[in-house]
């Protein structure tokens, strides 16, 4: 079963555990600036949102690479950067519509999410379930279950799910 990262911004608290887990797994230090997953804070709205590579099937970064330094890991579905092949031309960073491939001037290659070889540390580190690693073909399963539970409970008013703070910690 292929699995994918699922991001649920409404559950994010901005703690950056994911960024530290990612940078530690990839770089051996706690360094949010080197994280492949980023949490964005929208202060005035009071919202946080984690964001990272969705591992496109037709991966534009992979197609754009002139030296074939971005390859498909068939086991995980991740598009992985081969650091020793990458020449740092940055064309992939332009090709990616979502900005999730980034150049690192220290290592002189690009980096992006590689799903940690099939066991992403960000999902393991997230304390609120804002980042989960789910069946790629059924990424809506949990959301469907939540709605199904409401309908099964005979809730007449089909309201939007409860606010984040309540929802999270019932789950935890």
């Amino acid at each position: 079963m292929l699995r994918a990262l699922q991001l649920e911004p409404e559950k994010c608290t901005g703690c950056l555990q994911c960024e530290m887990a990612c940078s530690f797994e990839n770089e051996g230090v706690f360094n949010p600036s080197k994280s492949r997953i980023k949490v964005f804070a929208f202060h005035n709205e009071g919202r946080f949102a984690p964001y990272t590579c969705t591992q496109c099937d037709e991966a534009w970064c992979m197609h754009a690479c002139p030296v074939e330094a971005i390859v498909l890991n068939a086991a995980t579905g991740a598009k992985e950067v081969l650091g020793d092949v990458c020449v740092g031309c940055k064309v992939c960073t332009i090709a990616c519509p979502f900005g999730t491939v980034n150049y690192d001037s220290v290592s002189a290659v690009v980096h992006k999410c590689d799903l940690c070889g099939g066991d992403p540390w960000c999902a393991k580190a997230c304390p609120t379930g804002a980042i989960t690693f789910v069946d790629a073909d059924n990424s809506g399963l949990e959301r469907m279950r939540a709605w199904a539970q409401r309908s099964a409970a005979g809730s007449a008013s089909f309201n939007a799910p409860a606010s984040k703070t309540v929802q999270n910690y019932q789950k935890a």
Partner: protein, 485 residues
């Protein structure tokens, strides 16, 4: 542990910037932050120096865990001789600033002397520069944050700064970082402003490492996260209600300081509680609370992010206060609320926004307003002193107006900015000041929680809830409830 082994020393008088190795012998003896930085301070300043003179120094310090994944470890402290108490001040803050400093490769910043003109310190990894602050001096902390982000074209810059209150000499000015986290108590912001330093802006991309056995460290932090997750307070009550989870609890047991600490229960507590922050308002059907938020690495996420009701008198026609920002924590809610007798949640949130916007301590501010209200009741402070404001217990107008005046250092705000001790002395009734060493009591009346009386009396920075917090054992029964006899 995760030290960068480097101290950044800034001589403001001469404009000299040097770096030096962290004293690892002192690290072994004093661990970090509140242990380590006071050692530096004791060794380097004359204990008799005037806190607001160039002879005083101000230290911004991280701890051994700052910048790592250790939950709740991402904090930093400001250590200096404080103007409110005339003794050691040590105020710590969450947010992201401390971790950014460590990530830039610095364990500590020592600011000494006094700059001949307003400056801010800009740190980008190894690079550290004093820059002219003429265009941000006189601005609020929020405006300063915005202007520096714009000037440096760097949204990831982390900024700690003072507001106008500190520039005006308010004795309990804070240093606010990330817009609404604060090294709040004892007037550490007043010291920073006295050195003509408006802000410290940091960008760090080096990361935090130097851990002897990283895998064991990760196991330990994972175990710590599990404990926090499974505990009813840190895993449930705090994320849902914030520290405000305590408002109804402390009120019920009769330890809620009310009306300048004359009483120990507040009738309006339920209206300003953590629970009340979740209730939709009748006017706009939105709750006061927008979301909860975490500081760096913290898996509890007790922070409150609130929006004020746009229909409320305090922000009507003031769209600059309609956005979300740091909401009421328990200490702020108590001091701004029950101590002054104000049970208007929106007014308290607005006053709290102002405390963040211009960086002053809501505990000392609220308590000083409460003392002023008692002095007003007794006729020692009159409308003539207040500029016409009726300073009555329960008046949301008086509270919010006082916050506006302290923020800008104007009018009667100058008196409120003195702190409760100096205010009560000035108006001839020093016994009405609820302080230890000149610092206002926090949110626990010792008549209801006796251990806190001992904590206040013995705390080296004056009355304080963060030194010997017996609330955990006496009220929450963690690890067990002591018998009171």
């Amino acid at each position: 542990m995760a030290w960068a082994n480097k101290v950044l020393r800034i001589n403001l008088t001469r404009g000299e910037i040097t770096d030096e190795p962290l004293n690892m012998a002192w690290v072994s003896a004093y661990l970090g932050q509140r242990g380590l930085a006071p050692k530096y301070l004791f060794e380097e300043i004359d204990p008799a120096c005037d806190p607001l003179s160039p002879e005083n120094k101000l230290i911004m310090t991280t701890g051994p865990l700052t910048g790592t994944m250790a939950s709740t470890g991402g904090r930093y402290s400001v250590v200096t001789k404080g103007p409110l108490t005339g003794t050691i001040a040590c105020s710590n803050s969450g947010g992201y600033f401390g971790a950014e400093l460590k990530s830039a490769g610095w364990d500590m910043i020592i600011l000494e002397g006094k700059s001949p003109k307003p400056v801010y310190l800009y740190v980008e990894n190894e690079k550290a520069e004093l820059r002219d602050a003429a265009d941000i001096w006189g601005k609020s902390a929020w405006e300063t944050d915005h202007l520096l982000h714009t000037k440096h074209q760097d949204p990831l810059l982390r900024i700690a700064c003072v507001g106008r209150a500190a520039e005006a000499g308010c004795y309990y000015s804070a240093i606010v970082n990330d817009l609404h986290r604060a090294a709040g108590r004892s007037g550490v912001g007043t010291v920073l402003a006295s050195k003509n330093v408006k802000a410290v802006a940091v960008r760090g991309t080096k990361g935090v490492g130097n851990i002897k056995d990283p895998m064991r460290f990760l196991q330990a932090t994972e175990e710590g996260k599990r404990v926090l997750r499974e505990n009813a307070v840190t895993g449930g009550g705090l994320p849902q209600y914030g520290t405000q989870v305590l408002m109804n609890v402390i009120n019920e047991i009769g330890a809620m300081p009310t009306y300048n600490m004359r009483e120990t229960q507040f009738d309006g507590a339920h209206k300003i509680s953590g629970e009340a922050m979740h209730e939709p308002r009748p006017t706009d059907h939105q709750p006061n609370l927008t979301t909860n938020a975490a500081c760096f690495a913290c898996t509890i996420a007790c922070g409150r992010i609130s929006k004020i009701d746009q229909n409320h008198f305090s922000v009507k026609n003031k769209p600059e206060y309609w956005h979300a920002s740091g909401g009421l924590e328990y200490e702020a809610a108590w001091a701004l609320g029950s101590d002054t007798g104000v049970d208007d949640l929106e007014a308290l949130t607005y006053a709290n926004f102002l405390c963040n916007e211009d960086a002053f301590d809501p505990i000392s501010f609220g308590s000083t307003v409460a003392a002023a209200m008692e002095l007003y009741e007794q006729g020692l402070i009159t409308a003539e002193h207040t500029g016409g404001i009726e300073f009555k217990f329960g008046s949301a107008e008086a509270l919010t107006r006082a916050a506006e005046l302290v923020a800008k250092g104007e009018g009667f705000g100058k008196d409120i900015g003195l702190g409760s001790k100096r205010l009560c002395e000035k108006y001839g009734r020093p016994e009405l000041s609820m302080t230890v060493k000149g610092q206002e009591f926090p949110a626990y009346d010792p008549r209801g929680i006796q251990g806190m009386g001992l904590a206040y009396a013995t705390s080296n920075r004056g009355a304080c809830h963060l030194r010997g917090y017996t609330v955990t054992s006496e009220v929450l029964g963690i690890p067990e409830r002591p018998t009171p006899w």
